[in-house]
């Protein structure tokens, strides 16, 4: 079979036709900017100030500066916390659970639940951030409910529990993606295999863990990777909700990077920081694939 395709595509011209428009645009508007960005991280590029006049190549200076920078270490740890809790624990798990529970339910139930979860996903990021700022505010919906149901005075969530707030907001926002992925994966599990196992006397738990879960492993890995990479770059949500604060409480790498590049005008350094994000993404992806032993 592979040979048949090979024969079809060995006509180089055809393959090129398929790929060329993409390659051109990718090269021009993606690869080149990326390469330039990486180059700039080795310079002292600045938006203003005397450095802006003379662009100098400073080698690894930005990187050695990073190692002395307590703010960076803090950012890395905040990023790891944010990504772990909101994408791995949050979105993937929650998405799976919802998809799992929805299986076999009526179309109406699926519609209602699905729509409400997806409403969060399609709402633009800035609107999401804004809604959550108000939701968690002193006079917001959450405090109102807590006051009415449990009679506690308003809690300033964004300032007392900033990391929790942004993590929850991000989970809220992104779960739909995972949910939809798992829905299809679960639908693809042949009913016959399940029924056969049940007839053989396997308990529900065994059916789930030994049959269903292994079958969705592929989806799980891919999903995990996509969601992690996406979460690594989350900026608008956090910046609008907490600005990285209070203090450094939610200063993940993208927010820190923005602060260095555009508030302190140290673009070279900011760009170097963004490479750390890249690096983290690479580590995560490799880790997933190795740990879950799945072929892409």
């Amino acid at each position: 079979m592979a040979q048949a395709i090979k024969k079809r595509l060995s006509d180089d011209k055809k393959t090129l036709v398929f790929l060329s428009p993409t390659l051109i645009i990718l090269l021009m508007f993606f690869i080149i900017p990326m390469v330039l960005t990486i180059y700039f991280s080795f310079t002292n590029l600045a938006l203003t100030g005397s450095q802006a006049k003379n662009l100098e190549f400073i080698g690894f200076d930005n990187f050695t500066k990073m190692m002395r920078d307590p703010g960076l270490i803090n950012s890395i740890s905040k990023t790891i916390i944010f990504v772990f809790f909101s994408s791995i624990l949050g979105q993937c798990l929650l998405g799976f659970l919802i998809a799992f529970m929805l299986k076999g339910k009526s179309a109406l139930v699926k519609r209602v639940v699905g729509t409400s979860v997806i409403a969060a996903w399609v709402t633009p990021e800035i609107v999401v951030a804004f809604c959550w700022v108000i939701f968690l505010g002193d006079g917001g919906t959450l405090n109102l409910l807590l006051g009415k149901l449990l009679d506690i005075s308003p809690i300033a969530f964004l300032f007392k529990y900033p990391m929790v707030s942004v993590v929850v907001a991000n989970i809220w926002r992104g779960t739909a993606f995972s949910m939809m992925a798992f829905q299809t994966a679960l639908d693809d599990v042949p009913v016959s295999v399940e029924e056969a196992a049940i007839i053989d006397g396997a308990s529900r738990w065994k059916v789930t863990s030994k049959i269903i879960i292994p079958m969705v492993k592929g989806t799980f890995t891919t999903n995990l990777m996509l969601v992690t990479l996406q979460t690594l770059g989350v900026f608008t949500l956090i910046y609008t909700m907490t600005g990285g604060g209070p203090g450094n409480a939610t200063m993940t790498l993208p927010v820190y990077m923005y602060q260095q590049a555009f508030v302190s005008y140290q673009l070279g350094y900011g760009t170097a920081i963004s490479l750390v994000i890249l690096f983290l993404g690479a580590i995560c992806s490799v880790a997933y694939i190795k740990l879950l032993k799945v072929k892409i």
Partner: protein
């Protein structure tokens, strides 16, 4: 399938539409360029309540009537402060994108001058008789590190304590309140706290998200009020006791005595507008340490219009911590008009700036915006002197201090904001925050440049 083809058509249609749109709009530019010289003015737009826009629209009409060879193009950049500076920094790098005239905050003027973005105006001002009318002190703000003039000042401002007279009256505090020490501020605040329980006694900018406001309106005022400075003789102050004392004031108000606003108000990015446009005029906060330009909120047609601002509000000067000389202090900032180095119309741009800086035009701008004028003679303009609070705001300028003329100031400013916020939120004691500040500044400027 029809539908897929249809989609391709739609895409092509959209791309062509965009192309047509682009060509059309650029075509218009081409025609007018041949007839007149276009001078583009860029400033930080603030959306609907943009007083500068009002001023410039008036100015444009008058100027173009008298100068038929120049067309003024108003190109505001509507964004947050930080984004405005960033975008300008990018735009000024090439003649394609650089505006001709730029509204420069004196805060960043030095850095932009060093970067080569601004035209050196020494020759222009030396042959300009009006230059002598500008307040000497203020000229300081537009002179770069190399001693040359890089912009013409257009507004300045001072800072002080705004207070609500009605709140004061209700708790027995005087209408013409003028504290002479920090203790008196505490006293007044305690009285308000005790007797007017729904009112926040004292508010000031303490959040990192408020950026420069926190550095200047709060920390700057406090530090210079202790008699110390941020930067002197080309070295940065990191060991001074004044730093700790200033942070202690913040600690007292926000944590120890609980005289400040709740954190959800104080740390919110809307702090400024909420406090100055809503809470202060409506008597929900007693005193606010903030800038004189807030007058612009309460004038006719403004966003929080008050019929008689001086009946409702007062503006007191900020005292030194123990009443020592010079008695009161203020930080002074201000905006200016600069010409981009990469502008292709230096001569015409200068003519426009000259016209904007005449005695009348100056006064008009100050009146519309609520800022203080920078010319000695404009200060006598009737419409100007009749504006509420002009007296006190101008009086404050007598003991005015300016921000450090060093292009690492923006970085240090962030360290200031972090220190202030950490104390205000109770995550660090004043002493700890001062230590952190010292460490951060040393990292930014190098130990040799500190004292």
């Amino acid at each position: 399938m029809n539908w897929k083809f249809g989609r391709k058509l739609v895409t092509m249609g959209m791309v062509s539409l965009s192309l047509v749109g682009v060509i059309a709009t650029s075509g218009v530019g081409l025609i007018s360029a041949q007839e007149k010289v276009q001078i583009e003015i860029a400033w930080r737009g603030t959306g609907e309540s943009d007083n500068i826009k009002r001023y410039l629209e008036e100015f444009k009409e008058e100027f173009e009537a008298e100068n038929s060879d120049i067309e003024i193009v108003l190109a505001p950049i509507t964004a947050s402060e930080g984004d405005y500076f960033s975008k300008l920094g990018l735009m000024m790098q090439s003649s394609e994108t650089a505006p001709d005239i730029i509204s420069e905050d004196t805060f960043i003027l030095n850095a932009n001058a060093n970067a080569g973005y601004l035209l050196n105006l020494d020759e222009y001002v030396s042959s300009w008789e009006d230059w002598g009318q500008f307040i000497e002190n203020i000229k300081n703000g537009v002179i770069g590190e190399d001693g040359s003039v890089y912009a013409v000042p257009t507004t300045t401002d001072s800072r002080g304590i705004w207070y609500n007279k009605e709140v004061f009256a209700s708790v027995g505090l005087p209408e013409d309140w003028q504290p002479t020490s920090w203790d008196e501020i505490y006293e007044a605040a305690e009285i308000i706290k005790e007797q007017a329980t729904d009112v926040t006694p004292f508010a000031m900018n303490v959040a990192r998200v408020n950026g420069e406001a926190t550095s200047m309106q709060t920390f700057g005022m406090l530090l210079y009020g202790t008699g110390e400075t941020l930067y002197e003789d080309e070295k940065w102050n990191v060991n001074g006791e004044g730093i700790v004392k200033s942070l202690q004031f913040i600690d007292e108000i926000m944590n120890q005595r609980q005289l400040g606003p709740s954190l959800s108000v104080a740390l919110n990015s809307t702090y400024g507008s909420v406090i100055m446009q809503d809470q202060l005029p409506n008597g929900k906060v007693g005193m606010v340490l903030d800038g004189s330009w807030n007058i612009g909120n309460y004038t006719e047609g403004a966003v929080a219009e008050l019929e008689d601002p001086e009946a409702v509000l007062g503006f007191a000067l900020f005292p030194t911590d123990e009443g020592q000389e010079p008695g009161t202090v203020t930080m002074a900032g201000g905006w200016s008009w600069a010409i981009a180095q990469n502008s292709e119309n230096h001569e015409e741009a200068w003519r426009v700036i000259q016209a904007m800086s005449t005695k009348e035009s100056q006064a008009r701008r100050a009146v519309l915006e609520g800022t203080l004028t920078v010319r000695n003679d404009s200060g006598e303009d009737e419409a100007y002197t009749q504006k509420p609070f002009i007296d006190s705001a101008t009086a404050a300028l007598e003991n005015a201090y300016f921000r450090p003329k060093n292009d690492l100031y923006p970085n240090v400013s962030i360290a200031i904001q972090e220190a202030v916020e950490s104390v205000a939120t109770g995550t660090a004691t004043p002493e700890e925050a001062a230590e952190n500040y010292k460490r951060a500044v040393i990292e930014i400027v190098g130990e040799d440049n500190t004292y």
